[in-house]
Symmetry: C2
Amino acid sequence: MASSDSDVRADYSDTERQIFDAALRVFARKGKDGARMQEIADAADINKAMLHYYFRNKETLYAEVFAFTMHRFRASFGASLKEAPTFEETLRVFIEGYVEFVRSNGDAMRLMVNENLAGGTLLGEHLRRMKEDGQAPPQILIEKVEAAVEAGEIRPVDPHHTVLSVISTCIFFFVAKPTVREMHLEGDSWNAFVEDRKQHLFDLLYHGLAPRPDA
Amino acid sequence: MASSDSDVRADYSDTERQIFDAALRVFARKGKDGARMQEIADAADINKAMLHYYFRNKETLYAEVFAFTMHRFRASFGASLKEAPTFEETLRVFIEGYVEFVRSNGDAMRLMVNENLAGGTLLGEHLRRMKEDGQAPPQILIEKVEAAVEAGEIRPVDPHHTVLSVISTCIFFFVAKPTVREMHLEGDSWNAFVEDRKQHLFDLLYHGLAPRPDA
DNA sequence: GTCTATATCTCGATAGAC
DNA sequence: GTCTATCGAGATATAGAC
């Protein structure tokens, strides 16, 4: 258990998880400084004093919520990435997995984006660890893109930019959900929009990467 | 001048613009609730009391900064979008213009994303106005995509999803700059990365949209 | 218009009864 | 473990001299 100085505890109680959910919801929308302990307590349906009983202060609460969220992100995502025979299948599975992850972990995404906007002091350590573990979703996909280029399955593209583009298109529409609703949806259902989006992204990216007959 | 109830004043003094710049910098990173008036005053290099002299309170300061930022966004961007003979040129010009805009208006982007994360109460009105004016960058590009589909210049894609994808790839890497630095840059220059990205995005999206010979 | 001082209030944090 | 009451820091906002 003493593997790394900032490992994530696995034995959170029910109340603690309840607090985590509430804290994540608030931190994700308002950021660390904008969030109010009272609002978190209300969302968790507990007394404000209990927050300080379980977590010394706001700073540690935020740090633990962030670490726990990143931990879940790695675990949940690694599991969703299956092996696929062709790059076409890999791309389809990745988009499906990523969009679904984003859909059901919206606040985790918002938290990470918020941390980026604020300067990302906490990100560094976590990202470095993800990179070293090779567990990061980007890292995995980058290698697959490299292999696909090597095998001539796709055009000779820059793996880093390519993966960044795939991820951007899977996340941004969700981060900017209020804007997207206003600009692109006129009373249509959000869920239907997300389903359409998965298909669109696969088409766009697949054709964007596939080799050109004339090239 | 009484065109609309929430029009943006055009006669801001030098001091007021100085405050706007500082306020935008802070609001963009910390959000409305996370920002501190003292920090804004320091960044603007004026006394904290002066903030309240020029703007009654935090709420109105934020509202005016947001409105002014959206106004500048519309104006600055509309001007950068030139007519182009082919869709290929349109796409290239759009990416160049958008990425450059994002690069030199990073805090404006961060502010909008922050507002989206927080729920986007202020966005609604502004976006609706942009849509009605037809001035919105997305709106303009959507029409060009529709026309290009019609003319057979590109594959029959959904214009809304397509434009959303273009915009996502132009903005997200910037919003997540700290993460991108950590994951994709190893001491390389950010400016060089941005230049590479413009080229990559054009390639990826152009091939993603171009008609298939075999289709 | 500018600054100091201060009023007012909100929020994070703790004490202490149960 | 839970709650009420409250302290004290820090934030917004204002008063008033210059």
